[in-house]
Structures are given as structure tokens and as C-alpha cells.
């Protein structure tokens, strides 16, 4: 059964024509990459899939159920979202921040117990921020905060991962580590759908790709069919050279 499908979905970007409606079918085990220039609507698409914004038309289904009819809590038990931007709000420690990932599963009267603490600690360790767990999030570097945010979703343990530029602010090693972690999630039967800026990351880690054009046009399919220089040059309005390194295509901007 599909993890997430969209039926004639048009995201709502003010002042833009409808373009091509999206009929996506995300299966368990797939890793999707969304590519497109600034302002093409990648973040808006993610928020629409998560039910945080209403679409202009069409609908989203999660495990066959219409998203618009689901309670927020039921959505959060199946779908997690790594935001591109975060508000700090009130001071909170790293461990407290990871623990809120369990919020969708706990009844109002229940306090976090040993199981929740264990999940949060394991998630923080998996993202290499376990040693920071008593620090205030506001005192961390950008990359460390990004890893804490990913650890929060790992604590949430959703079947569908939506990630808005998950490698933002990360150093090279942690970029690869995070992509490997997302891939392991997919291998264990979950679905990953992420916006990316780095074509080479998409080529290396994604099996499906969605190209979003600024005018609302879109095309999607297996990564090998989508990641061809002509299509990408038109998408980003940027001449590219392609090489093959370790069996994966590598794109380099020229001029």
C-alpha cells in the first residue's frame, strides 16, 4: 500500500498559475528528492503534504486516508517533518527538544517515562549530539541545531519522513551521515521525501526525483530518468558538466 499519494494536487503559491497538478505515489522504502530553483515551491509542497497548508486544489492521502479529514495527532503519528527554519522560543535543552518527538503518542495525563527518554537518548546519539543533551539549544552551532532537529524526528519515528534541506548547515561528514541515516530509514520500510539543493546528493541517495519549475510545471520519475543534464540545465537555468564518479553521476556548474 502506498505511504502517501497526491491526487491532482496543486499547491497554493499566491500569484502563480496552477501549472501541472501532482499525482505522486510514494511507496514504502522509496527515497524521493525534490529539486528546483529558489521560490519554485519546494517548502510549500512539503508543508502541504504535511497538512500544514491547504492546497489550492486536489488532495493528499496518507495510507489511503484523506489528510484533510485526519486529526493532527493521527497525522503526527505517521508523518514527521524536518523544518528548514526553526524558532527558538523559550530556552530548552537538547534532550527536552528531542523528547517532544514523543508528544503525538502520549496521552495528556502521561509524563514521559523511561521508554521515551531511551528513544530520545538513542536518537541524539545516532545524530552525534548525545554529548550535548544538557546544553541549551540556543547555545549550539547551526549544524548542531540541525542535527538536534533531525534527532527530534527520529525520536518521533514516523513512517513518512518529510525533510526540508536536511543537510543545511552540516559539515561534509555529517551531510553524508544524515543522508545515510535517511537511507537506512527507507531500507527499514519507511518513506523519505526531501527537498535538496545539491544535485549530487540527489544523484547519490535518491531513487526517485521530482523536478519543480518556477512556473508550476513539474515532472517526476525514477532518478536515473530525471537526472539528465538537459533537464537540470533548463531547471536551474545553469550550464552543467556531468561526470561519473564511483558509479554515480556528478554535476558541476560551468561558467
Amino acid at each position: 500500500m502506498s505511504a502517501l499519494t497526491t491526487e491532482l494536487l496543486v499547491i497554493d503559491i499566491p500569484g502563480r498559475a496552477d501549472g501541472r497538478a501532482l499525482d505522486l505515489d510514494l511507496q514504502p522504502g522509496q527515497v524521493w528528492g525534490v529539486l528546483g530553483p529558489n521560490g519554485a515551491g519546494k517548502t510549500t509542497l512539503l508543508h502541504t503534504l504535511a497538512g500544514l497548508r491547504a492546497p489550492r486544489s486536489g488532495q493528499v492521502r496518507i495510507s489511503g486516508q484523506p489528510l484533510a479529514q485526519m486529526r493532527r495527532r493521527a497525522v503526527a503519528q505517521q508523518l514527521g517533518l524536518i523544518f528548514q527554519e526553526r524558532q527558538d522560543g523559550f530556552p530548552a535543552t537538547v534532550l527536552e527538544t528531542a523528547l517532544i518527538g514523543r508528544h503525538p503518542y502520549l496521552s495528556p495525563w502521561r509524563m514521559e517515562g523511561a521508554e521515551e527518554f531511551q528513544r530520545a537518548n538513542e536518537a541524539l546519539a545516532a545524530l552525534d549530539v548525545g554529548h550535548l543533551k544538557d546544553r541549551l539549544v540556543s547555545t549550539l552551532s547551526g549544524g548542531e541545531r540541525q542535527r538536534v532537529a533531525i534527532a527530534t524526528v527520529l525520536t518521533q519515528a514516523p513512517d513518512i519522513w518529510l525533510a526540508d534541506e536536511p543537510t543545511n548547515h552540516l559539515d561534509l561528514h555529517h551531510q553524508s551521515a544524515v543522508m545515510a541515516l535517511l537511507n537506512r530509514q527507507a531500507q527499514s520500510g519507511r518513506t523519505v521525501f526531501m527537498c535538496l539543493h545539491d544535485l549530487n546528493m540527489a544523484a547519490r541517495w535518491c531513487d526517485h526525483v521530482l523536478l519543480l519549475y518556477p512556473d508550476g510545471e513539474a515532472c517526476w520519475g525514477p532518478a536515473a530518468e530525471m537526472l539528465v543534464p538537459e533537464a537540470l540545465e533548463a531547471l536551474f537555468n545553469q550550464p552543467l558538466a556531468m561526470a561519473t564518479v564511483n558509479g554515480a553521476p556528478v554535476f558541476v556548474p560551468i561558467v
Binding site: L52, R72, R73, A92, I100, H103
Partner: protein, 322 residues
């Protein structure tokens, strides 16, 4: 499990001590043994009147008012995600003050003044609620801006009323504006509201913690953001309206107590909200005790004392914090 109960037990102990102190100290001191005798039903007439009809209602009123204001302030800070928010930030005290001053100007009694203040608070709440709803999208900054602008409107009306009031009514009006416990006589309704709200907000506590991370993050973690935000707004407004009706607009408690507790106890609303009720109550009980004893038999406006105790304590905690 985090030990939530230890700080609450300590604060409860402080609260009881403050209440006992407040009942025994005054222009006519009552020995602890006499208070005990009265409560056990064996006191003499004088002690009975003093304790049961004067001291206990006033101490409880001060405690409950402080608790209401501190809880309302903590809720407003989460709602608006703004550390400067206090129970009055959205103009509620202004509406209440206009109601109270109108009643005073008409020379009506203290019961009418309280009722009129409550009505004013409700009008102010509904007005900001309706205007912030508007035609566009709803955001905390829009609510904040609407509230602040409406509050300055109330401020102008209050100044106008003070300017045209006969001189003999002015002291009472100024005392009300600075917070005055001497009207407070029947705190039992307010007490019920405070206890009920504390019990109600505990199961909401974790949702509030998530909401404090921003509405998008909260929605992504399964919180129905809009209904929760309106609930917080209405509950905080009700708490403030009850507090203002009991004792006039007492500044400072609602702003400073939640911050003090956050600096010491962290930011888990399940702990902070009941702790606010206890600490706010303790602070205002002590402040009121001072207000009616420092220059007895004259009384000071209690708001002056809360500021004089609160400012240095808060600055000390802020200076010491990480």
C-alpha cells in the same frame, strides 16, 4: 522521571508560611495559638471577627489574586511567544479600569465597582478577540499589536476620566489603578477558578511546551494549534478578569513571577503553571502584609510593594542566570 514534586512541595510550604504570617501580623497582632483556637472553633469574639472576617479573607484574596495573575502571565507569554507579555498586555486591565472608574465616578459601592470592572474586562477581551480575528490571517503578532493599541486607547480614556473627576474621588481611583486589596472580601469564587484552572492546564501542559516551539512545529507534532491558542487566550483572560475584579490592576506579578520560575526551574509548563499559582500567591500575600503594616494604620497600594520586592529579586536572578 523528573522530580516535579520537590519544587512544588517547597513552594507549597512557602505559601502556607506566607498565609500564616499574613493572618498573624497586622495593626493588632494575633498570636499563632489564638489563630489555631479560632480555626478550631474555640476563639473569643474579638479574635473570631479579626481572623475570620478580616484577616483570612484578605490573605486568601491576596494569595488567589497573585496566583491568578502569575498563571495568566505565564499563559500569555506562551501564547504570544513573547517574554514581555503579561496579563494586561492585551488591554484587559484597561477595560476593567474604565469599568471600575466609571462606577466610582458615579459614586457606587464596591460591589458595583467589582462587577463593572469584570464587565469592562470582558468587553476588552471580546473587542481584541474580534478585531484580531479581522479579515486576514491570524498571528500572535497581530493579536499583540491589536491588544497594545487597544490598551493605549483605554489608557487615554482612563486619563480623561481622572482629569475630569472631582478631587475627593481621586485617591480611591488611583489606589484602584495601582492595585488595592482593601476591597477584596469574597475571594472564594476566585479561589475556585484558580484551583480549577490549575487542574485543567496540567493535561494541556505538554501541548503548551510544544506550542512554545512555534505553531508550525507544534502542528507537525500533532497539536491542533488554533483551538489551543484561543483556549489559552480565553482562559488567561478569564483569570485576569477575576484577578482584576478582586483587587484592581496589580502590576508586575504576572510578568515577573513566571520569569523568575523559568530561570530557576526550566521551562516545562506542567511544572511552571502550578508553580506560578503558588509563587504568585506567596509574593502577593507577603506584599499585601507589608502594604498594610509598614505605615499602619494607613495602607499602601500593594502594587507598589510587589514592584519594590520583585524588581531586585528578578534582577538578581537574571544576573545569576546562564
Amino acid at each position: 522521571m523528573r522530580p516535579l514534586t520537590i519544587p512544588l512541595m517547597a513552594l507549597a510550604l512557602c505559601s502556607v508560611s506566607a498565609l500564616v504570617l499574613s493572618v498573624t501580623v497586622g495593626s493588632a497582632p494575633v498570636a499563632l495559638a489564638d489563630v489555631w483556637a479560632v480555626l478550631a472553633g474555640q476563639g473569643n469574639d474579638l479574635a473570631n471577627t479579626l481572623v475570620l472576617e478580616l484577616r483570612v479573607p484578605r490573605s486568601v484574596a491576596a494569595f488567589v489574586t497573585g496566583g491568578l495573575l502569575a498563571v495568566a502571565g505565564a499563559l500569555m507569554q506562551v501564547l504570544l511567544r513573547n517574554p514581555l507579555a503579561d496579563p494586561y498586555v492585551l488591554g484587559l486591565s484597561g477595560g476593567a479600569a474604565v469599568g471600575a472608574l466609571l462606577a466610582m465616578l458615579a459614586g457606587l459601592g464596591s460591589v458595583v465597582v467589582s462587577g463593572s470592572a469584570f464587565a469592562g474586562a470582558l468587553v476588552a477581551t471580546l473587542m481584541v478577540f474580534g478585531l484580531a480575528h479581522g479579515t486576514g490571517s491570524w498571528t500572535p503578532s497581530r493579536l499583540l499589536l491589536t491588544g497594545v493599541v487597544v490598551a493605549s486607547g483605554w489608557g487615554a480614556i482612563i486619563t480623561l476620566m481622572l482629569a475630569i473627576s472631582p478631587a475627593n474621588r481621586l485617591p480611591g481611583m488611583l489606589y484602584w489603578l495601582m492595585g488595592d486589596m482593601s476591597y477584596a472580601r469574597a475571594p472564594w469564587f476566585a479561589l475556585v477558578v484558580l484551583v480549577a484552572v490549575c487542574l485543567l492546564v496540567v493535561p494541556f501542559g505538554r501541548s503548551l511546551n510544544v506550542l512554545a516551539r512555534g505553531p508550525m512545529q507544534a502542528a507537525a507534532l500533532g497539536v491542533s494549534v488554533r483551538p489551543l491558542e484561543w483556549t489559552i487566550y480565553l482562559v488567561a483572560s478569564l483569570l485576569t478578569a477575576v484577578a482584576v475584579t478582586t483587587a484592581g490592576s496589580i502590576g508586575f506579578v504576572g510578568l515577573i513571577v513566571p520569569h523568575m520560575l523559568r530561570l530557576v526551574l526550566g521551562n516545562d509548563q506542567r511544572l511552571i503553571l502550578p508553580a506560578c499559582a503558588l509563587a504568585g500567591g506567596t509574593l502577593l500575600t507577603l506584599a499585601d502584609t507589608l502594604a498594610r503594616t509598614v505605615i499602619a494604620p494607613e495602607q499602601l497600594p500593594v502594587g507598589v510593594i510587589t514592584a519594590l520586592i520583585g524588581v531586585p529579586t528578578f534582577l538578581f536572578l537574571l544576573y545569576r542566570s546562564r
